[in-house]
Structures are given as C-alpha cells and as structure tokens.
C-alpha cells in the first residue's frame, strides 16, 4: 500500500503512514466516517422512497394537464374542483378529453389489522386516462361496487392478492358496503397509505355519500397529439374564470407535489435535516481527526518546514489523510448502509434500497467534504514555526 501510494504521489505517503501509525485512532476515525455515511444513506434512502411513493400514484394515470383546487398540494389533499370547468376546458381546440378524478381514503378493517387504501374514483369508459398495466381491469369497474386492488398493499397477504380474479372476486366490507375486488394492479405502500384501490366514480360516490359527482378532486385533461402543453395551460388559465384554481401540466403537478412533500411536510423536512446532520457529523469527525493529527505532529511539520517544504506539501499531506479517511470510511459505510436500508425496506414495505446513484453521490460527497475538513484543518499548521525548534 505504501509503495503504491508512493508511486501515485511521487513522494512518501506521509499522511497514510501517519494515520496508520496510530491504529486505534485510525479505526475510530473510520468508524466515525462510516457512521456518518450510514446516517446519510438511511436518510437519502428515506428521501428517495418518499419521492418514489409520492410519484407512484401519478403513474397510474395518463394526462397532459391537471386542474386542482388552490389548496390541493398533493393528490389526496385539499378541496375539490367544480365539474363545470371541465366542460369549459373542453372548449379549447387542443383539449380532446377530460375526466374528473376522485380521491379518498378507504380503510379495510380486517379484524387484526386495517389496510388503508388511497382510493381513486375514475370513469371506466375513459380508458385513455389510465396507464397501461392498470387499464387491463378497467372494464370490470363498470359493475357497481367493483374495485381493483393494489396487490403490493401493506398488510394484504400475497396469496390472498394472488387469488383475486374476475371469476373469483375477493369480497370485503368497507365504508358500510360490500366491495368486490375483481382484479389487481401493482402499486405499493407509501407514507400516506398502505396501498391503492381503483374504482368507478359511481362506486366512489356511494362509498363517500357526502361527495358530489359535480365536484371531483382533480380534473385531468388530454390534448390532441402534438399540442403544446405549456401553451394550452396558458390559454386555459385565461379561459377559466376561477383564478384560484391550479392549472398545471400533469408533470408539473407531480413535481410540485414532490417538492411539497420534501420541503413542507414534516417527514420530508426531517429526512432532509437527517442528510444535513449526517454530512455535518462526517465533517466534524474528519475535521476533529485531522486537526488533532496536525496538532500532534506540529514538531514534525515544523522540521519539514525548516527543511524547505512549502505550504503545498502540507496541504497535500492533510488532503491525503482526508482522502484516506473518506475512502476507507466509505467502504464499510456503503455496506452497512445498504444492509440497513434493505432491512428497513423489508420491515416497512417502503421502496427502500441502495441505488448506484446514491452510492456515487455519497461517495463524491464524502470525498469532497473530507477534503474540505482537511483544508480547514490546515489552518492549524500556521502554528508550526520552525524557529521554535532550536
């Protein structure tokens, strides 16, 4: 290792030799860096999973534009939108189709546990609004009280979900009605609910008697092929007289929802803070180790200064140490982080896991922040005055 580093750097790897000379301290420093890495990985994993879970339901539908109430920050949040605006939007030459989307929470009490389904009420006669994979069972929803269920819903046994067929529907009680699950689709548990359920708007309204067909939660619009979404959005904003409504492209709606989850909702903010704290912990640990190491070697550094070594040499040593700590701390950090995320994913059924993106981001971050700590730690070098050596 020493030889290799010597070859790479064109000088003795003083930093490496210095760090590995005190094995106990080296091990503690690596543990600290690894710990900071794990912290960041877990929080990043949770953040990624929040993003995945937030964007998931948007994947069930296909639309170009979404109209929502001013306070509807997320799919399942906020007030509703009058259906009259749907009719008005259809007056635009580029808008070819519109559909009201109803959203509500339907708990299925299963004795021991209760599964909370985020439920979407849609018009089964408008399959163009439903994504492939979900649309297969759409015609089944024409029957009153028929639903299709998220087969990855948290708390729904796999074999029970696997048995759901149109011929052998799964019947269950919810909201004082008997629902028949005729088919399944792939969703997954998120932070807001255990899974998803799709039903017709008619069934939805009977599940929620207080809701009215004249006021869905969102309005989805589809444009003629080749139409410009942004231009249409601008025209609709002028056309629709209720200025409080949020008229956005479907992509923007999804991304704004994500931003809202990450920056306004406590969960998202906490995950963000977790990342920040992980970074700070790592920064402080590396800084502590490096500055203690510089302080311990002031005499040696002063001797090197006397011998004619310049500032770049010392910066090089400290950066070398920072990189060694970053690199060697990252390896256990990424392994433990991946393990913990896999474990958390298994327990919570959230889409949690280590992605190559995360590993690369954290690796680069670790190296950059270690180097930064190193640069800060070199300020202590000024105390190494070779004139004091004699």
């Amino acid at each position: 290792m020493t030889r290799l580093l010597q070859r790479l750097m064109g000088r003795l790897p003083i930093g490496w030799l210095q760090l590995t000379h005190k094995r106990g301290r080296f091990a503690a420093a690596l543990a600290g860096v690894a710990f900071a890495n794990v912290l960041v990985f877990v929080q990043l994993g949770l953040m990624n999973s929040l993003a995945a879970a937030t964007l998931k339901p948007y994947e069930f539908f296909q639309a170009d534009i979404m109209i929502s109430a001013s306070d509807a920050n997320a799919l399942a949040e906020g007030g509703n939108v009058a259906r009259q605006w749907l009719l008005q939007a259809l007056a635009d030459p580029d808008v070819v189709e519109g559909m009201g989307l109803f959203v509500g929470n339907v708990p299925w009490d299963r004795g021991g546990n209760s599964i909370s389904f985020t439920t979407f009420g849609i018009d089964p006669s408008q399959p163009g609004f439903v994504a492939q994979g979900v649309s297969d069972g759409l015609h089944l929803l024409e029957v009153q009280d028929a639903v299709i269920l998220d087969r990855l819903a948290r708390g729904l046994p796999v074999e029970e979900a696997a048995g759901i067929r149109p011929q052998t529907p799964l019947r269950f009680e919810a909201q004082d009605r008997t629902l028949s699950a005729m088919g399944t689709f792939v969703g997954g548990g998120g932070f807001g609910g255990d899974g998803f359920m799709l039903t017709s708007d008619q069934t939805f309204l009977s599940l929620f008697p207080s809701r009215s067909s004249a006021a869905p939660d969102h309005i989805l619009l589809r444009l003629r092929p080749g139409a410009e979404v942004a231009a249409t959005v601008t025209r609709l904003r002028a056309l629709i007289s209720d200025q409080s409504l949020r008229i956005r492209s479907y992509e923007d709606a999804a991304l704004e929802d994500l931003t809202y989850q990450q920056t306004q909702r406590p969960t998202g903010v906490i995950f963000g803070f977790g990342v920040l704290i992980g970074v700070l912990v790592g920064l402080v640990i590396v800084y502590q180790v490096l500055s203690a190491d510089v302080a311990d070697h002031l005499r040696e550094y002063a001797t090197f200064k006397a011998m004619g070594y310049g500032p770049r040499f010392f910066l090089g040593i400290v950066l070398e140490e920072a990189l060694v700590l970053g690199l060697f701390g990252f390896v256990p950090g990424v392994l433990i982080g991946a393990g913990i995320l896999a474990l958390m994913g298994a327990v919570t059924t959230l889409p949690l896991g280590m992605t190559p993106d995360m590993a690369v981001t954290v690796f680069v971050g670790t190296v950059v922040f270690s180097a930064l700590s190193g640069v800060i730690a070199t300020r202590r070098l000024a105390a190494a005055d070779p004139a004091d050596l004699f």
Partner: protein, 233 residues
C-alpha cells in the same frame, strides 16, 4: 563577497517583542563562513547563539543589517525564496525531531525529496548511503521508537546530510549523545567538509568538540566577543 564565502553577515541587529517588551538580542554582528569551514559558536545561555543560527538559516526574518546566504540577500527576501534556500541547508536540532511514523530510511528520504523530481530509487539509494555513513545500515527499517537516543540523532544527521547541503546548521547536536557518539557525529561533519566542501556552523557547550573546530566564536549578550582560530572576521 568572495567566491568562497557561504555566509556573510554584516551589521546584523535583531529584536524580540514589541513595545515596552521589545528587547535587542543581536548587536551589530559581523561574520563570514568560508566554504568547507567548521565553525563552533559558544557562549552562555541566552547569549543569542540560537537566534543567530535561525537568522542565518532563513527561519527568522532579518530585521536590520545584511545576511547573504549562498549569494542571496535574506533581508527582505520573500517566503518562497527563503523556503527554496532552506532546501540547500541541513539542520540538526538538539532534539532529533524524527517523524515517529516514518522508518529511519523514510525519515532520511524526506531530506532528499524536498527537491522535486528526484526518482524514488535515487532517493532510496541516497538514504541508504547516508545511513551507512552514520553506521546505521542495519537499522534502515526501524521506527524511531525502536532506536536509541544516539541512533536517532545519527538518523537526524543523515537526514541533514543526505541532500548534500552547502551549509549545515547544528544547535547542540551532541548534547544528548555519549562521548563516543558525539565524537563520531562531529568527525562525520568534519569529513563532509573536507570531501564535499560542506560548511558547518555548530553551537555547543561541549568542550570535547572545541579542539576539532577551525574557528571558535564566542557570543555574549548578543555580541561576538571573541574570535579564535583561522582567518578573518
């Protein structure tokens, strides 16, 4: 300045502290060191021996007067110039100041690598030769913790000499050594003067060394009060 003088000090004054605490430590020093000479600096504690050494060795800024080292005026010289001049000097301190994490040979290599572009193999060979010169060829891969006091000081001597310095500045290098090791170190420095033209300025209280010196200067209260031995000022 003659061809052969390595150091020329003229009218050097130096002060420590500021304001009321300001105190003069060097008074009007004149001094010339010829190439290959071996000069011993003596004097009571606090007389300014170390201060003079650090001024000549580019470790302190010259405040007043002139110090010419290897043809460079140190008064007013920039940090980078002083640093590169130091690469041509060899320092031996009272304490060995070896790096605890480096082996004897690696410590000596540091004395070579200060000049950029020296290949590893060359640096290693030079270190091996220097350690052989101080009789430590069998201790090359020892860490300082596993060497005796005398051995450590000899490694420090090897480190100072390995780069073929024009001038060796040594401050009581033999204080920590027994009689034989001290004599060895001094003989080594003398031999280097004879064979490579290395100039030595050595501070000592050690009477055993005096008879080996070409010249003995005595400092008292920041002034040179006695010049014994060979030529000049």
């Amino acid at each position: 300045m003659t061809e052969d003088s390595i150091v020329e000090v003229r009218g050097l004054n130096h002060w420590f502290g500021t304001g009321d605490a300001r105190k003069q430590a060097m008074f009007d020093i004149d001094l010339t060191l010829e190439r290959g000479s071996f000069t011993v600096l003596m004097g009571p504690s606090g007389s300014g021996k170390t201060t003079l050494l650090t001024l000549v060795g580019c470790l302190r800024a010259v405040q007043e007067g002139s110090v010419r080292l290897l043809g460079h005026e140190l008064h007013g010289a920039g940090a980078a110039e002083l640093t590169s001049l130091r690469q041509r000097l060899g320092f031996i301190f009272q304490a060995h100041n070896l790096h605890e994490s480096l082996t004897a040979s690696q410590n000596v290599i540091m004395g070579v690598q200060v000049r950029p572009g020296v290949p590893d193999a060359l640096a290693e060979a030079a270190a091996a030769r220097a350690l052989d010169l101080v009789g430590l060829s069998d201790r090359m891969d020892y860490l300082p913790a596993n060497l005796s006091g005398g051995q450590k000081q000899r490694v420090a001597v090897a480190r100072a000499l390995v780069g073929n310095p024009a001038l060796v500045l040594a401050d009581e290098p033999t204080a920590a050594l027994d009689k034989d090791s001290a004599a060895e170190v001094v003989d080594l420095l003398k031999r280097m003067g004879a064979t490579r033209g290395t100039t030595t300025l050595l501070v000592t209280h050690d009477n055993r060394i005096l008879d080996r010196a070409d010249r003995i200067l005595t400092l008292e209260d920041g002034r040179i009060v006695k010049r014994e031995g060979a030529q000049g000022r």
